[in-house]
């Protein structure tokens, strides 16, 4: 029905790029598409208008008409304007000179404040801080309880003197928590507050009182990435009320296009500091405007991917793998090993989402079934060491035994062996510097998924989106070593 913003803009730019010279009408046509795409991504109307206007001015100027590739130039402009709105450079959390640093969280009901408080605490703990969680949401049933449980999971202290559920004065608790933190030598105080609507004057006053009593170094405005046009009004209300110093974007692991991030940043002019991306306490990271803009513009989030890969794959293992591939001694055992390492990096879908061109692969990503990886694992685990080392010994009866052992069918075993052989062949070609034949290899298949899934529309060569763990690992290694694999001159990230 509608693709995400990345897909839409790719299509738009593809049309643009078929022409060498851009007329004013061309640019206006493109801007209309961008406007629509941004609106569908929930960027607020006022922001969209301003954005389109400033892109237009620049697009009609000399920098485009004199550019060698005008279309490419428009893309650059859109990208840089997006980064601009998103806050330019990433900003660090402001820590107080004299501890404790006080961080107050504020936002609408259900934006994810309490969960975020837990994540922030765990993250700060990993930064050698000693955070204290303070339960000032005395409104929502069992918010205090939830925060206490999260504190326990994160292994940090919690200050929760009041039971909540409408009992207790949050302003008093906030005030007491600072003394408590000082006496226990906590370096950071994180104050979780009740969700409130921007129009609720009484509740906003309460938030202001909490702020006045605690003099926070940061007032973080927590917003749901799914927020629509209301984002602007809400941001204004909170900014005018409590005075926001930074924003945190939550639920970014959903399929929301996150237009609210653009709206909020442009309205309150303060940076987005963190993004929260999942149900576990570890699913939390600093926010990088360039990466977000790239993601929106379908340039992929390769940096995050590399960081995750660095966390997961150690260098020695990579070296060994490279040698094996070169020596053609890559076995099913290595294949399994790679797959298990890859799983440590996160779900296949979230990894694929970061790959450039992911917008075009939406359909395939939906078809990708994480369970299939488990089947593949089960099949390999049902093999004897000899079979794993030398798949050619796999005759009919062995295959039948493996199918029974892994709870799969002979067909599935056959298809895995075939896929492995193809992959091994491909890697060999690649390690010799050749161009692999992508025949019939698409993502869904590599994972063992629906073999009838359509082939990828946008075949990009710049960065592969191979789902093959081993091959991907090889590519990631190339990226880590700073060798862009197969740079295609122009460096188009838009699939042309």
């Amino acid at each position: 029905m509608f693709g995400d913003l990345s897909t839409r803009l790719s299509d738009t730019f593809r049309n643009l790029r078929t022409r060498g010279k851009l007329t004013e009408a061309d640019i206006d046509g493109t801007l209309r598409d961008i406007r629509k795409a941004l609106l569908e991504a929930d960027v607020s109307l006022d922001v969209v208008k301003d954005f389109v206007a400033s892109v237009r001015v620049r697009a009609l100027g000399d920098e485009v008409s004199k550019a060698l590739n005008p279309a490419e130039q428009v893309v650059q402009i859109v990208n840089s304007e997006l980064v601009e709105i998103l806050g330019g450079e990433s900003r660090q959390l402001r820590l107080a000179k004299n501890p404790p640093t006080v961080i107050m969280l504020a936002g609408l009901q259900g934006s994810g404040k309490t969960t975020l408080a837990g994540k922030l605490a765990l993250w700060l703990k990993s930064q050698q801080q000693t955070p204290l969680l303070v339960a000032c949401d005395l409104q929502r049933p069992n918010a205090v309880n939830q925060l206490t449980v999260l504190a326990e999971r994160a292994g940090v202290d919690v200050f929760a003197p009041e039971p909540g559920n409408g009992v207790g004065d949050p302003v008093k608790v906030a005030k007491q928590s600072i003394d408590h933190a000082k006496s226990k030598a906590h370096s950071v105080v994180i104050i979780d507050t009740a969700g409130r609507l921007g129009v609720d004057e009484e509740m906003m006053q309460q938030a202001i009182d909490i702020r006045n009593q605690t003099d926070p170094d940061e007032v973080l405005f927590v917003i749901d990435a799914m927020l629509g046009q209301d984002a602007v009004d809400v941001a204004k209300a909170f900014n005018d009320g409590v005075g926001v110093t930074g924003t945190v974007l939550t639920k970014l692991d959903g399929d929301a296009r996150g237009g609210a991030a653009l709206s909020v940043s442009s309205v309150i002019g303060e940076n987005v500091l963190f993004s929260s991306t999942g149900e576990n306490l570890e699913d939390f990271e600093p926010f990088y405007p360039e990466r977000m803009a790239s993601r929106i513009l379908d340039m992929g989030d390769v940096l995050t991917l590399i960081e995750q890969a660095q966390k997961t794959f150690d260098e020695k293992q990579q070296q060994e793998l490279a040698e094996k591939i070169a020596k053609e001694s890559f076995t099913l055992e290595d294949f399994l090993d790679q797959m298990q390492q890859l799983k440590k990096m996160g779900s296949m879908k979230s990894l694929l989402g970061m790959m450039p061109g992911a917008g075009n692969m939406k359909k395939q990503m939906e078809d990708f079934d994480e369970d299939e990886l488990k089947h593949t694992e089960a099949i390999i685990q049902s093999m004897t060491p000899v079979e794993r080392q030398q798949p050619r010994v796999l005759n009919g009866s062995r295959r039948q035994r493996i199918a029974r052992g892994s709870g799969t069918t002979v067909t599935e075993v056959n298809s895995l062996v075939n896929r492995f052989e193809q992959a091994a062949k491909m890697m060999k070609t690649m390690s010799k510097g050749g161009t692999p034949q992508m025949q019939g290899m698409n993502m869904a298949q590599l994972g063992g998924g629906n073999p009838s899934a359509k082939k990828s529309k946008g075949k990009k060569k710049k960065v592969s989106k191979s789902g093959n763990p081993a091959r991907r690992a090889a590519e990631e290694r190339a990226l880590l070593e700073g060798k862009p694999n197969k740079t295609d001159g122009g460096g188009s990230a838009f699939g042309l």
Partner: protein
């Protein structure tokens, strides 16, 4: 006004009685146009609708419809245009099936409540429970959100406020399908009228979590029918609401929507697009944190509120 004709157990066992439940009206919808409407300003309506989260397509459609209809009827004044617009919205939003499915007479009724994280599922259940209790119904709530920290306690608090029975997991992290099953079994054993099952919030692109909803449903269907699957959507949600509606209706067979937090500045325009595109009626709206702060959706009242001066 909603006309209530719901069936539950009568005074005598095994007999069904027609019961009336307290009425709840939708009010306090914020107007779209504080300013004057005129033939010249119709085009501005598109921006206004966009800002109310109606979405690109719906905004365009509504404006072109309004133009042609105003032309045909010769409506030009502010009052006339507002009336034409109201009728237009009502026409598209009015549905026969906006009532809760409480009429089959097969007891216990079973409701599943689903939605993304933070939409307001648990609160909605608390309000529904109170309302049904007030009407003399025997209600069992099931805490099948075994994932989020303290979610069970949150529902327990609501169960207390609503004076309903509650089935909670025996241990944290228990399979939600088994909690759902136990909830319905309890409802059957205790001769309750209705079981309402709370589920964990899940983002619609998480396949494994979405599959879990199917499992919960199948578990319930071993012993009872599922009368209603309510998808709870936060009215501040933008166009992502469409994606939520699509994904949840695919796996969980959604029968109705609940639009929450309509007491803020959000207009909830996305419900218009969802109802038209996915053919799912909006049944309830949430308008505050109090236990009685909800209303039955009425297209007439909603549209009237939007076009009021």
């Amino acid at each position: 006004m909603v006309d209530f004709k719901f069936w539950r157990k009568g005074a005598k066992q095994d007999e069904l009685a027609e019961v009336e439940l307290p009425k709840r009206d939708l009010s306090g919808i914020r107007s779209l146009f504080p300013g004057e409407m005129s033939s010249d300003s119709i085009q501005d309506l598109e921006d206004i609708l966009l800002m109310a989260d109606f979405g690109f397509q719906a905004s365009e459609d509504i404006v072109s419809q309004l133009k042609s209809r105003a032309n045909k009827l010769g409506a030009t004044s502010d009052a006339e245009l507002r009336l034409v617009l109201k009728d237009l919205l009502v026409e598209y939003l009015q549905r026969e099936d906006a009532q809760l499915n409480l009429t089959s007479g097969k007891l216990p009724y079973v409701f599943l409540v689903v939605g993304v994280n933070g939409a307001g599922k648990t609160t909605t259940i608390g309000k529904l429970g109170r309302w049904l209790s007030d009407g003399g119904w025997k209600v069992v709530l099931g805490a099948a959100d075994t994932f989020r920290a303290a979610a069970v306690d949150q529902l327990a608090t609501w169960a207390k406020r609503a004076e309903t029975d509650l089935v909670s997991p025996e241990k944290p992290g228990q399979d939600p399908a088994s909690v759902a099953y136990q909830t319905v079994s309890r409802a059957i054993e205790t001769d309750a009228d209705i079981a309402i099952i709370d589920t964990a919030g899940r983002l619609q692109n998480k396949k494994d979590l979405m599959d879990e909803l199917g499992k919960i449903r199948r578990a319930v269907e071993k012993i009872a029918q599922v009368d209603e699957v309510l998808l709870v959507i936060d009215s501040t949600t933008g166009q992502n609401g469409l994606s939520q509606a699509r994904a949840f209706s695919e796996v969980a067979d959604v029968t109705g929507m609940v639009l929450t937090k309509l007491d803020g500045t959000a207009k909830g325009g996305v419900l218009y697009a969802i109802q038209r595109e996915f053919d799912i009626p909006v049944k309830l709206v949430g308008v505050g944190e109090g236990i009685n702060d909800f209303a039955f959706f009425s297209a007439e009242q909603f549209a009237r509120g939007l076009v009021a001066r």
